[in-house]
Structure formats: C-alpha cells, structure tokens
C-alpha cells in the first residue's frame, strides 16, 4: 500500500519533469530556429506583402523575385564557387598540418617540445587583432626573409587579394583557430594507448608508417571535428577574409557590401529613397542564400558531427 503510493508519486514527478523538459527544449529550439524560419518566409514574399496586415508567416503572393535580385547583386554563383574553393582548400591543409603537429606534440617528444607547445597555447590566447597589422604589411610586401627578391630580381610580391595568405597560414597550421585544432588532435592522440604504437613498431613499422596506417584511421572522430569546424568557420569568417581579400568575390565580402550595392542598384545612387523595408527584405534573402549551403551540409552530416565530437579527445 505504502509502496504503491510512493511509486505513483515517483511517476508523477517523472511526468512533470518530462513536461517541463519538453517545454524548455521546444521553446529554446524555437528561439534558435526563429530567425531562419523568418528569413525563409520573408524570402518568398512579394513586396506588397510587406505592408499587408494579414501576412505574418505565409506570404499571400509567392515570388522568387527576392532571390533573383540577391543572386544578381551578390554574383552568387561565382561567390559560392570561390568561397567553396577557399574553404575546402584551407580546411584540407589545416587538417593535415594540425594533425601532424598534434601527433608530434602528443607522441614524439623531443627537447623543447614542451616549450613549443606553450607557443601553441599562446597562439590561442593572443587576440588575432594584435598581430593583424604586421601580418598585413608582411603579406603586402612578401619577401620570405629576403628569399623572394633574390628570385624575382629585387621585388617582393604582394600577396593580398590572392588565396596565398590562406594557403600559407593553413599549410603551416597557423590559420584561423588552428591552435584549437592542434590542441584537439594532441588530446586525442594522447588518449590512444601506447601499446598500439609499440605493437606497430614490433611489427616493423617506422614512425611515419605508424602514423599513417595506425594512428590516423583511429583518429577519424577528431579529424571529422576539425574538418567541420575549420570549413564552417572559414566559410563564415569575415575577420581575415575582409582584410586579405577585399576585391575578391567570396561570401563574406559580398555579404558585407550587400546593403550598399543594393541601394545603388535599386535606386539611383547612395542617397536614394529606396524603401528601407524592401532593402532589408532582399538583404535577408542574401543572408539566407549565404548560409543555405552550410545548412544543407549540416543536414547531412549533423548526426556524424555530434557523435564524432563526443568521441574526440576534447574532454580527456
């Protein structure tokens, strides 16, 4: 008798908690999805729907006009191709160089490697803005310690507005947030049992072979994590892209100049009387177009993403 009453109280508690949990999660999910849903709804609206009081979510007149305008102004397909090339390139190079460095720091200790790892931590801690100006000037007159002038006959090269700054920094594991990726790889490789490595060695594999054949296949969760983070953050990055690639057509620069270009195109010049709401509508469509590829990729990989993070070394 007593036991059953207790049992039912337990059941009640469980029910109430499930309800509270459901409400919380549904509410917060809505908060997260709201801006995206809003953009989707806005993108299909005709201009007349903007002022129609009966239109909140579902447009009265469907139109693709906003898409056509935004695609035209942003030179969308070109920007998409450029951004994709840039992101893919840096992602692959970053993953390779960071995996090498992470393995070196985790397993191949040499004299001074502790000190160098302190350097990795330093690159995480120093705000990128602190070194932005010298790096910028360096890339503007790139001479690689006087080596390039020897080859070209006394002239340094200007690497701005090319992909070289991104290629060079990512091939040398110093691109955007690379310190974090090295840290992730190091933590992961440290977690792999030493016996695995010793067994490979007994079987006659050298350091290189152990790394490629044994360690890398084991490190797939952390590789996936780094690939995804690096791709997404490079795609969204406006900090470096707008500094190094001012005249190239990539998503970040195109989005940044979208409001201005819109005004020029829709009316005559910057001091036009273009309807600000309409501008904002096309601008929202532009943002939607810029993040759409990421959302599509995410739909396919999210399952893998969450699982892989849970198995990465971040925690250990």
């Amino acid at each position: 008798m007593h036991a059953t009453r207790l049992l039912s109280l337990e059941r009640w508690k469980k029910w109430v908690w499930s309800f509270v949990r459901l409400t919380l999660i549904a509410g917060l999910s809505f908060v997260i999805l709201y801006p995206v849903l809003q953009k989707i709804s806005t993108a299909f609206k005709a201009k007349s729907d903007l002022y129609s009081p009966i239109v909140v979510w579902l447009p009265e007149h469907y139109t693709l006009d906003n898409f056509v305008k935004a695609i035209g102004i942003m030179d969308y397909w070109q920007a998409l191709l450029n951004t994709f090339t840039l992101s893919a390139l840096t992602t692959i190079l970053t993953a390779i160089s960071c995996a090498l460095a992470g393995y070196g720091f985790a397993r191949l200790k040499f004299k001074g490697s502790q000190l160098l790892f302190a350097g990795v931590i330093l690159t995480i801690l120093v705000p990128p803005i602190t070194i932005l100006i010298p790096v910028y000037l360096n890339l503007k007159d790139f001479s690689l310690m006087g080596l390039i002038p020897l080859l070209t006959g006394g002239k340094s090269v200007n690497l701005l507005n090319t992909y070289w700054p991104f290629i060079l920094t990512s091939a040398t594991a110093n691109s955007l947030k690379a310190g974090l990726y090295i840290f992730i790889f190091r933590q992961f490789f440290r977690g792999i049992p030493k016996e695995v490595e010793e067994a490979a060695y007994i079987d006659g594999a050298g350091v290189g072979k152990t790394f490629y054949r044994i360690m890398l296949p084991n490190a797939i969760p952390s590789i996936v994590t780094v690939l995804l983070f690096s791709f997404v953050w490079q795609w969204n990055d406006s900090f470096f892209t707008t500094t190094y690639l001012t005249s190239s057509k990539v998503m970040a620069t195109q989005l940044g100049s979208l409001p201005y270009n819109l005004q020029i195109l829709l009316e005559d010049g910057a001091n036009s009387k273009a309807d600000p709401f309409y501008l904002s509508m096309v601008q929202d469509t532009g943002i939607l177009l810029a993040i759409l590829p990421l959302i599509i990729i995410y739909l396919f990989v999210q399952r893998y993403f969450v699982e892989s993070i849970e198995r990465t070394g971040i925690v250990g």
Binding site: L28, G104, A171
Partner: protein, 301 residues
C-alpha cells in the same frame, strides 16, 4: 641479446624525437613567420611613431607615447574596452551555466533527442561576424516582432517575473541580471553551441556505475547532479570559461576600433598600442578567472 634490444629501443626513441621535430616543423615555421615575428613587430610599432610612404615604413622610437594617447587622448578607447569587459563579465557565467544545464538536459533520454541536439548545435554553424551584424540591422525582424506583439508580451513577461522575484526577497541586482538574461536569450543560446558540445562529451565519459551506486543509496536526481555530474565536469567548466572568454573577445567594438585606427586612419602605432593594451586586459582576465575557477576544480585521477 638484451643489450641489442635496448640499443634498438634507444635508437627508436631517438628516431621518434627527430621525426617529432619534423612533424612539428610546418607549424613551427608558421608560428615564427605568421605569429612570433608579427607579434614582436607589433610591440615595436606600439612603441614607435610609424609613417607609411612609398618606400615602406618609417619607424621612429617614441616610448610610451602611443599608450598614453590611447588611454588619455583617444575618446573611444576606454569606453570600448570597458564595454567589452563588461559584456564579457555579464555573458560568460550565463553561457557556461546555461550550456551545462542544456548538456545535462540533452543527455537524458527523451523522444526527439537527436532532433533537439541537431537544433542546438545549429548556432555553431550560423553564428558569425557578418551574419550577426547584418542581422542586428534587419528591419524586417524588428517589424515582424512589433506586428506579432512579441515585444510587448516579452516586456510584460519579464516585468511580471521581476515583480515576482522582488516580492520573493531577491536582491534587486540579482533580479536585474536574471531578467536581462531572459531578454538576451537568443544571443546566449547562439553563443553556447560549442560549449554544450564539450559539456555533453564530458558527461558521457562519466561511468554509469557511479549513478547506479548513488541510486542504490537513495540519491535523488538533484543530488546526483551536484555530487557526481558537477564535480566530474568541473575541469570542463574551466575549459569552457576560457573558451567563452576568448570567443567573446574575438569580435567586438574594441576590435572594430583597433581595425579602424589601423586600416582607415593608417595610424599603425596607435592601433598597435591599443591592440597590446587590449591583449594585456584579456590576459589579465584569463589569468584571474582561471586561477579562481581552478581552485574549485575537482580532478578525478
């Protein structure tokens, strides 16, 4: 036989050390060229008056003049720095607590868990500089909020909540903090994606036996959280706090000011001095907060 084996072993270790250097070498080159040298020249610029002309840069040593100018003459620097720090002080605890709470929630079994997870990690992908700044100027959003009456309802909601909590005897400061958190919920949610991931991963490494044992002893879920989950993930609280602090400092009014001083006014000296003062502030905050948190951290080994 034994000695040969040992010799072999030593040479393998030596081989490993040499290979280790080569594995780290790409990073080391990048570190020197794209980090260390720029860092030092930034320090040099900050102590000099820098002029750019057609031949390149003319750098004259001028002592702490740029620092003095940033702190006393420049009208925006102090305010931007204070703003950045204030925002961080307010946001970081909220983000860390919120993401721990959500990680615990998302770790429980319920219907639609994988859907909820993928929604909560969406901000990792969407939160970014340009998009956020364009978003905040989006008129459509503002208008729609008005139309739906969301603004009014939200305001009223927090207002009533405020009264309720004040009646319950909480101090005014705490109440203001919490209600402002409610109204900034979107920015908090959108900044806590990575932190939720880290906490979630941490919670899943806790051995289930601990929970079973505590349940046998009659611990409630609440007790299990405070006695098991919380201590076990406390090292990650440190990690997450540091990550959140660095993240909150990577893009704000302060960095905009430094960029503008450098790239539109071409005052490299002043800009570098600002950047170094900023770095000093960040370093100080990181040192203090990691000292305070690491005193409370519990390590399982």
């Amino acid at each position: 036989m034994k000695s040969i084996l040992r010799l072999d072993r030593r040479s393998y270790n030596e081989q490993k050390a040499i290979m280790g250097f080569f594995y780290v070498l790409p990073w080391l080159l990048g570190f020197i060229f794209f980090f260390l040298i720029p860092l030092l020249s930034s320090l040099r610029y900050s102590l000099s008056s820098v002029q750019a002309n057609s031949d390149g840069l003319i750098v004259h040593f001028s002592g702490f003049q740029n620092y003095v100018e940033a702190l006393t003459v420049n009208t925006e620097f102090n305010r931007s720095l204070a703003d950045a720090i204030m925002n961080m002080v307010i946001n970081v605890p909220l983000i860390v607590i919120f993401s721990l709470f959500l990680a615990v929630l998302l770790n429980q079994k319920f219907i639609g868990r994988s859907l909820a997870r993928s929604i909560f990690f969406l901000p990792v992908i969407l939160a970014s500089g340009v998009i956020l700044s364009l978003e905040s100027t989006s008129l459509i959003q503002a208008v729609n909020d008005q139309n739906a009456g969301a603004g009014a309802i939200q305001g009223l909601g927090t207002f009533e909540l405020e009264g309720l909590m004040l009646d319950a005897g909480l101090s005014e400061w705490v109440v203001n903090y919490l209600t402002s958190a409610v109204s900034r919920i979107y920015s908090i949610v959108s900044q806590s994606g990575v932190q939720i991931l880290i906490f979630l991963a941490g919670i899943q490494t806790i051995s289930p036996q601990l929970y079973e044992a505590s349940k046998m002893e009659g611990a409630t879920g609440y007790e299990a959280f405070w006695k098991i989950t919380f201590p076990m993930v406390s090292p990650l609280i440190l990690v997450n706090s540091i990550y959140t602090i660095i993240d909150s400092f990577s893009n704000n009014a302060m960095t905009d000011l430094i960029r503008e001083t450098g790239f539109t006014q071409f005052n490299f000296g002043l800009s570098s001095a600002m950047a170094w003062l900023y770095f000093a502030a960040v370093a100080l905050i990181l040192a203090v907060s990691s000292y305070l948190i690491s005193k409370k951290v519990f390590y399982y080994d």
